[in-house]
Symmetry: C2
DNA sequence: CTGAAAGCGCTTACAG
DNA sequence: CTGAAAGCGCTTACAG
């Protein structure tokens, strides 16, 4: 049987009011040090833990912010976001709780189990859920809704632009026959298609031949594909992300294809391993710090009832290394 | 003003009981389809979202499990654990919520904001917090307490063993003059010291000379250190983790030191990039799947009031590649 | 400085 | 099949 504040009050010989005042350091009260210490000691002695539910019900709101993570593998950007959010929210007495969303479980169920003050979505929410949340006084930040584009959360609008940036860089360096190395991970399909689309579009616009598409498992050296590209006269490959690019690099090594001499490789993400690859990997760095800042600022704005800050303007950029 | 179930009842012209029965699909009730649909429609129409706090208070427990993550960068093992836990718990109607713990914020505060059914700790909890949680009917799983060793969570007991394993492998391959490449990340210090200690101990036991210690920034090629090792006659290096090892590998490349000919390198973690490095990195793989399974099984056991399952027996193992 | 009491929104015996 | 009512544990005016 859990210990309640009434138990503490009884054991300490004071009222529940006093217990509450002491335990919450309620300002404007004036409890004698002796009483105070006695209550504290009694609570510790009984192993009292307050009921978060009762507290939240009484106060009409919780001190929780829930961040919903999409059902796909997240990268370094998300880690940056979570750390920053956790710190910023802690400063206002709020706790960030992260939920790894599974498509098998409707989010509606989640809100029956926890009512946060704000929901931060890095993924797309069904419009009706969005409406229900807002109506229930729960603010929603960062979750793409159909109204504002319909695409998954963070910087998702610019997925095509990332592919375009890769092509722009390769084209400027004189590469003409591009290939695309995409990921086999089905959960990333939406992103992969947008990036691929960006590459294709940019090629068409630059008058380059239509790039061929290959699926590259990020776990193993992609020697076979590299050989095929080599045969087909492909001179550069735009990769879905750095993991895929590292597999291409390893494949080129295994196949004896020189990088960038016979095949240029550009990645995406600028993970730490990219700078350490052989050769060091040219890649695209997204402004993750700026994105994290913006999301954190949005949450703050919502909490303060202020208008949302303008989106981050810092663009993604090419980090030029030796692989192109 | 949030919509309550009373609002829905009033708008639908039924009692709160009926609303509750319909919304919760309470078994053993028999509501006409017409009433049912009407209530559902009304609730959707008003944008009703139930109060998780009231529900939890009434039922005496929540459907939440909170996992507390330590204040240091987590690797692939933790991701495996979280995914598995999320899935397993979903099957019993529970939600996993992850909190990234900051040492600036006592956990005690967290339990005021959320009362989970079970707490899964991948980090060390203060003993008195542990006691308070248990007394409050909240089970705690996986958090090292002073009683059982006092060290951070998952497999932490075996950090020394990991270092020993590295030495065992290097020694078996005839390497004699070892160095240790450790991480500059202060949050990992506790782990780093244990692993270093394991390496030292194993060297002493094997009659190898005391290894020298260098700090290697995992972001940049460690050419300077490699040159020094080369001068000092070091023939093998045990790295804190794969990221550090990749920096050593890149440094060796930059310094023109052949791997493994003049310097053998062994990492730790077996991240995907390890297999793709040049040369492919020999490393230590921890049984993360088994560890995840065990933690998940422990949570299940606790939920069912059964005794904890025995620890995972699968050992960490050396993944031999070309760098040693 | 402390106590008695109301009420947050929900679920669930219980009575009809 | 539906309604009136109690009570989960807390905080906070309010009265003393």
């Amino acid at each position: 049987m859990p210990v309640t504040s009434a138990d503490v009050a009884r054991a300490a010989g004071v009222s529940r009011t006093t217990v509450s005042y002491v335990l919450n350091d309620t300002p404007g009260t004036n409890i004698s040090t002796a009483t105070r210490d006695h209550v504290l000691a009694t609570a510790a002695d009984l192993g009292y833990a307050p009921s978060a539910a009762a507290r939240a019900l009484r106060r009409g709101q919780s001190d929780l912010v829930v961040c919903v993570l999409p059902d796909w593998p997240t990268g370094p950007v998300v880690d940056t976001v979570l750390d920053l959010l956790t710190d910023n929210l802690a400063r206002r007495g709020l706790f960030l709780l992260v939920h790894h969303h599974r498509s098998t479980r409707p989010l509606r169920e989640l809100w029956k189990a926890v009512t946060p003050r704000v929901v931060v979505g890095l993924t797309h929410f069904p419009t009706e859920d969005l409406r229900a949340l807002r109506q229930a006084g729960i603010e929603v930040v960062g979750a793409g809704s159909v109204d504002d584009g319909g695409h998954p959360g963070i910087d998702a609008g610019n997925q095509r632009g990332l592919g375009e940036l890769q092509v722009e860089h390769l084209g400027a360096h004189g590469y003409r026959h591009l290939a695309i190395a995409t990921t086999p991970d089905d959960r990333l399909r939406e992103f992969a298609e947008l990036r691929t689309d960006g590459v294709r579009r940019a090629c068409a616009q630059a008058g380059l031949p239509e790039p061929q598409l290959a699926v590259v498992d990020p776990g193993v050296p992609a020697a076979e594909v590299v050989r095929r590209w080599s045969r087909d006269g492909v001179d550069a490959v735009a990769c879905y992300n750095d993991e895929v690019a590292l597999a291409v690099l390893a494949g080129a090594r295994a196949a004896g294809v020189e990088v960038p001499g016979r095949l240029a490789v550009v990645g995406l993400d600028d993970v730490p391993a990219a700078a350490l690859a052989d050769p060091p990997l040219t890649t695209i760095a997204q402004p993750s710090a700026a994105q994290a800042q913006h999301l954190a600022a949005s949450v703050e704005a919502v909490l303060d009832g202020k208008p949302l800050p303008p989106g981050p303007t810092e663009p993604s950029r090419v980090v030029v290394r030796a692989s192109t």
